[in-house]
Homo-oligomer: 563 residues x 2
Amino acid sequence: MASWQEIARTKREHTNSLIPKEWRLSKIPTPEEQCDIAGTYLHQFLTPNEIEITETPAEGILARTTTGQWKAEDVARSFAHRAALAHQHVNCLLEIFFNAAIEDAKKLDAYFAEHKKPIGILHGLPVSLKDQFHVKDVDTTIGYVGWLGTFEGKKGTNKERVFESVLVEDLRRMGAVLYCKTSVPHTLMCGETLNNIAGYCENSKNRKLTSGGSSGGEGALISARGSPLGFGTDIGGSVRIPAAFNGIFGLRPSTGRIPYEGVANTMDGQNSILSVIGPLSSTIGGINLSLRAVLSQSPWLNDPLIHEIPWREDLYKKTLDTTRQRGKLSFGVLRHDGICQPQPPVTRAINMVVDILKEGGHNVIDWSPPSHSRAAEIANAAFSYDSATDCLNDFALSGEDHAPQVMLGRRGKPQFNATQIAANNVTKRQYQKEYLDYWNSTAELTGTNEPVDAIITCVAPFPAARPQKFTHYMYTMVFNVLDYPCMVIPVTTADKHVDVVNANFESLNDDDKTTQELYDPELYDGSHVCVQLVGRRLQEEKVVALSEYISERLRETKAATKL
Amino acid sequence: MASWQEIARTKREHTNSLIPKEWRLSKIPTPEEQCDIAGTYLHQFLTPNEIEITETPAEGILARTTTGQWKAEDVARSFAHRAALAHQHVNCLLEIFFNAAIEDAKKLDAYFAEHKKPIGILHGLPVSLKDQFHVKDVDTTIGYVGWLGTFEGKKGTNKERVFESVLVEDLRRMGAVLYCKTSVPHTLMCGETLNNIAGYCENSKNRKLTSGGSSGGEGALISARGSPLGFGTDIGGSVRIPAAFNGIFGLRPSTGRIPYEGVANTMDGQNSILSVIGPLSSTIGGINLSLRAVLSQSPWLNDPLIHEIPWREDLYKKTLDTTRQRGKLSFGVLRHDGICQPQPPVTRAINMVVDILKEGGHNVIDWSPPSHSRAAEIANAAFSYDSATDCLNDFALSGEDHAPQVMLGRRGKPQFNATQIAANNVTKRQYQKEYLDYWNSTAELTGTNEPVDAIITCVAPFPAARPQKFTHYMYTMVFNVLDYPCMVIPVTTADKHVDVVNANFESLNDDDKTTQELYDPELYDGSHVCVQLVGRRLQEEKVVALSEYISERLRETKAATKL
């Protein structure tokens, strides 16, 4: 029997062999030789037409593919090509099915030619998927060697390479073109993306930094314009961290809006804190249209955990209208959580957003919620209920080694029992209630007699983590405990001349000190810096509208600065 | 230190001492002497005015109290009086606070006199509450002697007799008058209502039968017209069983609509199958107005587990409109679940409803879902994760004995661990998905190309359980596993001349045989018989509208038969 190393290498070589020969590069530069592949570097390998298509945002692509201006096949080929180029540099893919995509795209073109109308609202839009989604004819491994050729580690289920997840069915029905699945850290419980099949996934903007995780392949791919829109998952930050590290938009919706049914997962059945599916895109328009599209399919009819809440255009419109009225909106700003302070570029990004909000006439107050360290305890408990039994079983299928970065909390210790799990669920609910009460209480502070509309904070204390140096997850994880919708908004890039080391830094604790010491202006120069906008539970439409407002104002400000 | 028997007796005597002397009866007839106290029997102790008030349904009371026609004080006194009478016969109360209610009612009357308008939409409506709700100045025990004088079994919390549940705050804000809390089986995990404080709660319509549980006090009280509207909870049928046994309406909503925040519970933190709060009322109008009222308070702002779904008048109206169109609606009828067949009066009630639907021009198909025995396994596992640790701890607080009827599943065996709980959660989700797919698949059977709008089945296999003879819980429990909204609709009463023993009965198994043998036409004669209408998850408005239609048609049919 082949060793796990051989099986992994065979799979890796097979995947790479699915890249057409003419798209393969003979030599890949090292990160030192070419640090940034998210800018114009890849242009040299692309035609002007391919560059135009791949640098058009999702909403722009749809405007053309749903009106017959662009052929789905051309769009699919262009993104497949750029995805192949990105993958060869940063290892962002686990599954490649470009041929199936091109066949699907041809069918869409034939449909349009015959009916003079698109097959659905996503007609011809390439969509990338994190390797948790089941797609026919290819593997789903979430990075485990032992899952190759199986259905979630099991053989003989009759689902292997046949079964498709509910969201995959929905996307196909709407005319999306599926062409690749993106890499993840094995176990999914990690803010970096690496596994024994695809290897280490680098950050596309700064290959010396991590692409984040667990949807790191999505982040790196979309950042390099190898995809206009992708879907990841988030149980502690796994959509938001890669979105932030790669400088794109990413939404962590509340549970119950985007169908998770039929999607592979780690520690499936741990239901204190549920993983959710979220879209990532280079534009807020991509997030907006993806959420509308998913909800247009009435996902509550096919996933028993989805709430019957369609896209609420009234909430979206009302919020957008209010952004134009001075003094009406209020925001809480959390500059740090009292546990770990952000590095200088991150603090600057938060301040930039605060300035924009104030210039818009909106109210900004300091956010002083119940301690986030309590949420950390709740989440850490939930993620280690089973003492890593599920993950260790999956590693044992092949006998493979696991990366030191993955969280195998409480490994070797006794599992939580029912009483302990119930106690943690009660603690979580009490924390959610306290946080809710705090949110309501801000009505007395905003000056409008209404509580804040959203919170502004960072996604992580750094623009992107350095490999094996992810010190603090709580800026994302707290909102999984609370189940609040969160949007990652790209704000700026780190600038070594502006974002200098803070000589007067006073650390709160050792981790805080370490985090700040990890800031290296030279290393981070040019890296993306994002913030997180957080809304009340199930108010995704409001979060989208506020994010559109902020990103539009940021764009205007940047344009004005350049003039 | 006093024995638990003494403590319980002291509490019981204190509670009964809160009944005004002029309302106390010197002798209570035995069930043999007076079997039915839900009809006109209590009239002898009431004034004509009290009878008029207490026999006016909730919607009728509000029409008068919110317009100044009736004083809140008169209404409160009348219901308090009738509740006191009912309690003396069937032991339905655990807490009495008539004086506080009358003071509150006087304030409402003063408000109306001053402002010429009601304080809120429930102005002056008496509302009874199951003894899980925290109300200031009184105990909350859920039947445990050890909880007396504590906050959920704990002392020194500063919440004892001060803290109020979110729904209690909401009800007060809307002008409801709170006056009593109703009895439950200790542990709440039982279809009969008995505990060492209040004793055994009998069925008001037929005192030889059980009032059901765990909201049995509510069922018995409302049935005797001692309350126009009450709130119970349901994790396996605990609203629906008492509603059905006592011949009133009862709604088990989906999780996430009525705020449970701050309500005492058993096995709190078991979150595979959540208990939900549901209203019980003698009229469907009472259910309708209670749901509208609760949702008018935006409960998602005060309970982190409530979904932001306001009352959807459009769904309600559209459903009502459709009931008037022949051929448009479809129903699945589950005459039995393949495990336990209903007794003759119950089967007749189902058939009566089917006939009415067919007469209305609607489609009725047989319901053949995934096996309900699988749901039974899931629920039984969930309810015994902790091997009864929580319940046994609460009994141990006082050292009291527990009733043989309460479920202390897997007592003495090891608790479920995290892996086992997760596996049950996955099994549950898969079952929910299969059931959803089955529901969708009925579009091919109804003749309308649309799946069924609702399911009709029984609530239990008997009109009401005989004491210590509750053989089969699955007609209710399956819908807790599925999280579907269910309404109990009173249909008829058992008639010994019509509902004769089925001589041709063929049993499916021993429990089925036992259940059928427990049917005694003489014993059950005159007992209420109800059915259950079940909708898709979160479609409470549709369930209310369909129930209104069916109950109105039943009323018309009865009226026509009498002519």
